[in-house]
Amino acid sequence: MKQKVERDQILGHEDEADGIKEYDNPLPDWWLGLFWITVIWGVAYLVHYHFIAHRSPEAALAQELADAEIRWATPEAAEAEAELVLSAEAVAEGEGIFRTYCVACHGANMMGGIGPNLLDDEWLHGGTSENIVKTITDGVPAMGMVPWGPVLGAEQVNRVAAYVVSKNAEALGRDPSDALRPSEGS
């Protein structure tokens, strides 16, 4: 029973609206349609999210982690490659990484700032290459150092550790390969 709607009919209470006239035009169909679509979508989304798909942020995170596990599983070979070598290339690569991620706390001259000095003979968490790699990988959250392992990956951690070891040895006038020996008197 669609009634013919009169368009542009003045309502006639402009005397009570400071002379502003008002039409009583019908709601635009597409506008009303849009309104109903959003309402229906809203109900459908709510029901689907909570009662059909049983979604939640926790479920989404678990799914993403499972996907990542499959997609980026670290091959054994790559793990094996990640070891500390003191080659010129490795040290040069390590320097680039240090400049990007480490200078903010340890200083461009490696003499420390927010984080400790790396050129002296004081090692808070052990001075062997093994200890240094572990410190970089796991961080020292209690002192504000974040774990860099998940960020850089084992290979880059080893490169930057090589850079630190070689610069430290240089500053102290030692042979950098000393640090490669398993810990004895650190």
């Binding site: 209470h13 609206a17 400071d18 035009n25 506008w31 909570h50 980026w72 960020v151």
Partner: protein, 501 residues
């Protein structure tokens, strides 16, 4: 050349080049029953605080593009000036234009003087004192650290007192009105007066510890939810509904066309105020807030799209038959762009509230772009249009530099476009860089500075956009100042002489 155009009324396209006497509305018996002094006071405060608030905005935009601009002083660092900027533009600039428009239009719509001149003045001076108190405490670092509700408890109490005084005066005027019908603009004003009172009181509940410090009564997630229930409805009921009220009065008056649809205004008013109040949780997606509450925030935000567009439609369709005047009338130009940006940002908002989009957009500059397309586009342009329309009616004098208003319009419009586009780009870039991973599944840009460096050009572009917008506002202030001065000096309107001949 420009100067000549400004001086020659024959070539200016300023509308209503008529005798100022004709500004009196024919349906009103006697304009002198109205209290326009308080309107002029709020008008002046709007212009002054607008320039101040935007200057602080440009300053902090400069600080993001070039850090030495923070001057190395605690009082002038970004963290303290940013809340000063937001408080100044929202509560001082936008607040004062709402009061300007309400005091001007409600007296005329209800055919009665404000209920109490004394309360009007207490409202005016109290509100300005609150703003001054904010401008002193925020740079000193005195804050309760709730976004858009930073002011410390003594100022919060002053806000309540002044707001209640305003409300008493407002409802007193409504009760003593000389007409039966309550025009749509007044409904929107009512939603502003009531809802802001409720939001402010509930969100600011705190137990004072010292004169400057207090502890909120809420903690943890409850505090966050109350804060964003307040925060989003500050957008809804401080920056949206009173401005829709201004639109419903000033746009049809300026266009001299009937409002498109009374029916649409009823439906979109009730759907808007009903849906808005539930949308706050969309600020807390992927947080510790219970899932069902997050979903409510998403769903109500999406359903808010059509009610918001109802306001835009009623504004734009009211201009049917007046579009040829948009080409020449700067007031209508400002209104058209304002309503268009209202439609644009109320489309963008529901989209950003969808979980998948939010996970990309949240915490990025996209949010800054979104809020400024609403603030500069909708709120700012509505304000400028209203101010320009009011000048000849409040001071019985045409603008001294009518074409400068058109220049202001173009500067502001270009400024908004630069601002929003640069922030969209910056937001998408940082959002994508945050989640990008390399072929080994590690973060592609783990260093904060890698991403921050990429945003530099966009911060520069945003500064330029904000600067253009600010320059336009300064031009408006100068134009209005000169016009008021000329009016007080009794200089005749050049256009009046032209029209009379």
């Amino acid at each position: 050349m420009m100067q000549d155009r400004y001086a020659d009324p024959q070539t200016t396209n300023w509308p209503d080049l008529v005798n100022p006497m004709e500004y009196t509305n024919p349906t009103t018996v006697d304009e002198s029953v109205y209290d326009d002094d308080v309107v002029r006071m709020f008008f002046g405060a709007t212009v002054i605080w607008g320039v101040v608030g935007m200057l602080v905005g440009v300053t902090i935009a400069l600080q993001l593009a070039w850090w030495p601009a923070n001057l190395g002083l605690p009082w002038t660092t970004f963290g303290r000036l940013r809340p000063l900027h937001t408080n100044a533009v929202i509560f001082a600039f936008a607040g004062n234009i709402c009061f300007t428009g309400i005091y001007y239009s409600m007296q005329r719509l209800l055919k009665t003087r404000m209920w109490s001149d004394r309360l009007s003045r207490i409202h005016f001076w109290g509100w300005q004192a609150i703003i001054v108190a904010a401008a002193i405490t925020l740079p000193l670092g005195l804050t309760q650290s709730k976004e858009y509700a930073e002011l410390i408890w003594p100022i919060d109490i002053a806000i309540v007192v002044i707001w209640v005084i305003f409300a008493v005066n407002f409802f007193g005027t409504l009760a003593t009105r000389k007409v039966k019908h309550i025009y749509v603009a007044i409904w929107f004003y009512i939603s502003f007066v009531i809802t802001i009172a409720v939001l402010h009181v509930v969100n600011s509940l705190a137990i004072p510890a010292t004169l400057f410090r207090s502890y909120p009564v809420y903690s943890g997630m409850t505090d966050a939810l109350v804060q964003w229930w307040y925060g989003h409805n500050a957008v809804g009921f401080f920056l949206t509904t009173p401005f829709l009220g201004l639109m419903y009065y000033f746009l049809p008056r300026a266009a001299e066309r009937p409002v498109y649809s009374y029916r649409l205004s009823i439906v979109h008013f009730w759907s808007l105020v009903f849906l808005y109040i539930w949308t706050g949780p969309h600020h807390l997606l992927y947080s510790g807030l219970p899932d069902w509450a997050q979903t409510l925030g998403v769903v109500f935000s999406v359903m808010l799209l059509a009610p918001s567009w109802g306001g835009m439609l009623n504004g734009l369709l009211t201009l049917r038959g007046a579009w040829h005047r948009v080409r020449t009338d700067p007031v209508l130009k400002f209104f058209v762009v304002a309503v268009s940006f209202y439609g644009m940002s109320t489309f963008e908002g529901p989209m950003m509230a969808i979980r998948a989009v939010n996970s990309l957009a949240h915490f990025t500059n996209w949010v800054i772009g979104h809020v400024h397309s609403g603030a500069l586009g909708w709120v700012g342009m509505m304000t400028f249009g209203t101010l320009y329309w009011l000048v000849p009616r409040l001071w019985k004098r045409e603008l001294v530099y009518p074409n400068m208003a058109t220049t202001h319009f173009w500067l502001a419009t270009i400024g908004i476009v630069l601002y929003t586009v640069s922030m969209w780009a910056a937001g998408l870039i940082e959002g994508l860089m945050w989640r990008a991973v390399n072929e080994r599944g590690l973060l592609a840009s783990p260093a904060f500075m890698d991403i921050a460096d990429r945003l530099d050009p966009f911060y520069g572009l945003r500064l330029l956009g904000g600067l253009l917008y600010f320059i336009g506002a300064v031009m408006m202030a100068w134009n209005i100042y000169r016009t008021v001065a000329a009016s007080r000096a009794g200089a005749p309107t050049p256009s009046a002489a032209t029209a009379a001949s």
